[in-house]
């Protein structure tokens, strides 16, 4: 199977502080990878590097074999990497449908946006997405009026509208009720059938729901261990990192 993402000897330092330290990571296309790790492990920086928000100090990031160094964020997004932020970031003053339509737009330069109109394929994509995320009844409501969980689903829908190959999802379950968490989990699982996904998560219950493949544990900017959920849970190093040193 081909590798969708390869990261080699990646170090990111901010004024000498190494947020990521000589990290090696790779994942196959089609995989749903969950990344866990205690606070400050470098999870968000990890996503920042992939999406071009932060440049690597040393090392490189390959997406489908292409080095992402010095490519601006919007071009990386067009290459096929979509990112969902920790707090839902949707356009509050636009309706749900308009939110999706903006992202769906095939040609994203100034003049085609100005003169172009949504074609039927795009309209159909939007309609399909509204159904997938379960917001078709609220399509004409301002996103401002949605509940937190609905906003999370809308943002995931916007990601999918970009038709990316790789979805990066940062703590999708943060601040959700149990029921909403399960909805989002189911949504991610159904998306995993056609996309590669990296999900960063704290909520172990949620990780257990979605982690069918490999789980990666980050600690202090490096890779601590990798394996299935049950392997990882049994790993003494992981227990130590999460719970402190085991008593002798």
């Amino acid at each position: 199977m081909s590798k969708i993402l390869e990261i080699e000897n990646l170090t990111v330092s901010f004024d000498g502080f190494k947020a990521l330290n000589n990290l090696n990571f790779s994942m196959d296309s089609g995989e749903l990878r969950v990344i866990i790790g205690p606070n400050g492990a470098g999870k968000t920086t990890f996503l920042d590097v992939i999406t071009g928000k932060v440049q690597p100090t040393t090392g490189r990031v390959l997406f489908n074999g292409k080095n992402l160094k010095n490519i601006p964020e919007y071009k990386i997004a067009r290459l096929g990497i979509g990112r969902k932020f920790q707090t839902p970031r949707v356009y509050l003053n636009l309706t749900v449908r308009e939110n999706l339509d903006l992202v769906c737009n095939q040609n994203k330069n100034v003049f085609s946006t100005l003169f172009g109109r949504a074609n039927t394929t795009e309209q159909r994509t939007v309609a399909g997405l509204l159904e997938t995320i379960g917001l078709d009844a609220k399509a004409n409501l301002l996103a401002n009026l949605l509940s937190h969980g609905e906003k999370q689903r809308l943002e995931i829908g916007m990601l999918v509208a970009q038709s990316p190959d790789l979805l990066l999802v940062d703590e999708p379950a943060a601040g959700l009720t149990d029921e909403e968490t399960e909805n989002v989990g189911a949504l991610l699982l159904s998306l995993a059938e056609s996309h590669s996904i990296i999900a960063i998560e704290h909520d172990m219950e949620f990780v257990r729901q979605i982690a069918n493949d490999q789980v990666t544990v980050l600690h202090q900017g490096s890779l601590l261990c990798e394996g299935t959920m049950s392997e990882v849970q049994q790993d003494p190093r992981v227990i130590e990192v999460y719970l402190g040193e085991a008593p002798e």
């Binding site: 999406t51 601006p72 964020e73 919007y74 997004a77 067009r78 979509g82 990112r83 932020f85 970031r89 949707v90 356009y91 509050l92 003053n93 636009l94 308009e98 339509d101 903006l102 992202v103 737009n105 994203k108 330069n109 100034v110 946006t113 100005l114 172009g116 109109r117 949504a118 078709d136 009844a137 609220k138 004409n140 409501l141 301002l142 009026l145 509940s147 916007m158 970009q162």
Partner: protein, 387 residues
């Protein structure tokens, strides 16, 4: 924000469009036909100047209200347009002569920057293209480096000061502090200050105001307009959606600059003179006040705000010249503290709803829909009734 089905929305939009067209049509009749015949010529000239200022307010609203970029330097673009037209008017001379002020500074040859302004078509283009390019250039340098928010505002104000000092200092080129007079010059063989020419400029101002309003309407509706709002509300998200915000911001800023140039030209010929004082910091800030008073992000608000503030200024400073500045300060404080969305915002979010309920109409829900108006229930109801 009641829940509506697609058909209802379409119907409402259609109705609003008809109302809007009717209002535009009515204001053309009032401004262009009725007003010139009822008020004296010097008052009309005043109204013409206010309407030119409303044009620059439209441009400012485009970038501040919709795109979230507060420019404190629109005086530059305004002045560039004004100077372009004034230079053309100052060149309506017999063969071989140059404008008389040049002799004061011992200039014998017409400076090269003046040469293109012999031609009327070039001047017309220069009125909006030069400020547009200047704005685009400034915008490109600023936005490419991701400077935004208050830093952007400060930079535009700094640019304004640079231009102000430059124009003040360049006596040999554009007559420095004295500026250029237009009233005593000629256009197509007629004196600029003559009533018929002034009347023509007034009508032209009304027409251009409407056209530029429609241009801004077109820009702010549709995908492009929604993207501007998206940039205003969350630029990072826009970038991660695959859009490059820089191009959009440069484009909108250039358009806004070009609009300011047109406004400046119209304002100059209806004032009679242009000089660098038009680039004083206070004037550019006043433009911002007009937009804030009328309501950011509502184009009609920019026009209403300008006219209201300027009319109030005229009447108050005629009767009580000493209190106008206090009044202006108070007005700004009131808007900032009590009416953050300006007059139009207050009308839309409060007064209109109050009025409706006085006439027994059901208030539109602005909250999360209650169970009675649950969209799922609505949808089901629609589906059942269509069967």
């Amino acid at each position: 924000m009641i829940n509506e089905t697609g058909v209802q929305i379409k119907r409402r939009k259609q109705r609003n469009r008809i109302i809007e067209l009717a209002i535009i049509f009515a204001s053309i009749i009032v401004l262009a036909i009725i007003l010139p015949s009822v008020i004296p010529a010097f008052r009309l000239r005043l109204v013409g100047r206010f309407l030119s200022l409303a044009i620059v307010a439209l441009g400012l609203d485009l970038i501040w209200g919709y795109t979230g970029l507060l420019s404190l330097g629109h005086g530059v673009f305004f002045a560039l347009g004004g100077y372009a037209l004034a230079m053309h008017l100052n060149l309506q001379l017999p063969e071989g002569e140059i404008p008389s002020f040049f002799t004061l500074y011992g200039v014998k040859e017409l400076p090269w920057v003046w040469q293109p302004f012999y031609s009327f078509p070039v001047t017309v283009l220069a009125i909006f293209i030069i400020p547009g390019i200047m704005a685009g250039l400034l915008g490109y340098l600023v936005f490419r480096n991701r400077i935004k928010g208050v830093y952007f505002s400060i930079l535009t104000q700094a640019a304004l000061l640079v231009f102000y000092n430059f124009f003040n200092g360049q006596q040999e080129i554009i007559n420095g502090t004295n500026g250029l007079k237009t009233d005593t010059e000629q256009i197509f063989g007629l004196l600029v200050s003559s009533p018929s020419v002034q009347r023509t400029f007034y009508i032209l101002t009304v027409v251009l105001l409407i056209l530029i309003y429609l241009l801004c309407r077109w820009l702010t509706s549709g995908r492009f307009g929604r993207l501007l709002k998206a940039i205003r509300d969350d630029e990072t998200r826009v970038r991660f959606s695959g859009y490059d915000p820089t191009g959009y911001k440069v484009f909108v800023f250039a358009i806004s600059g070009a609009i300011a140039g047109v406004a400046g030209a119209l304002y100059t010929v209806q004032t009679g003179i242009i000089n660098p004082s038009i680039m004083q910091v206070a004037f550019s800030i006043e433009m911002v006040i007009w937009v804030a008073v009328g309501g950011r992000g509502t184009l009609i608000g920019a026009i209403i705000g300008t006219l209201l503030v300027r009319l109030a200024q005229t009447f108050l400073s005629e009767s009580f010249p000493e209190i106008w500045l206090f009044f202006q300060g108070a007005l700004f404080l009131i808007v900032v503290t009590v009416l953050p969305d300006g007059i139009v915002g207050w009308w839309r979010d409060y007064a209109w709803l109050k009025l409706r309920s006085l006439f027994g109409r059901k208030p539109s829900l602005a909250t999360y829909p209650s169970l009675a108006e649950d969209p799922e229930v609505d949808q089901e109801r629609d589906r059942l009734s269509s069967k």
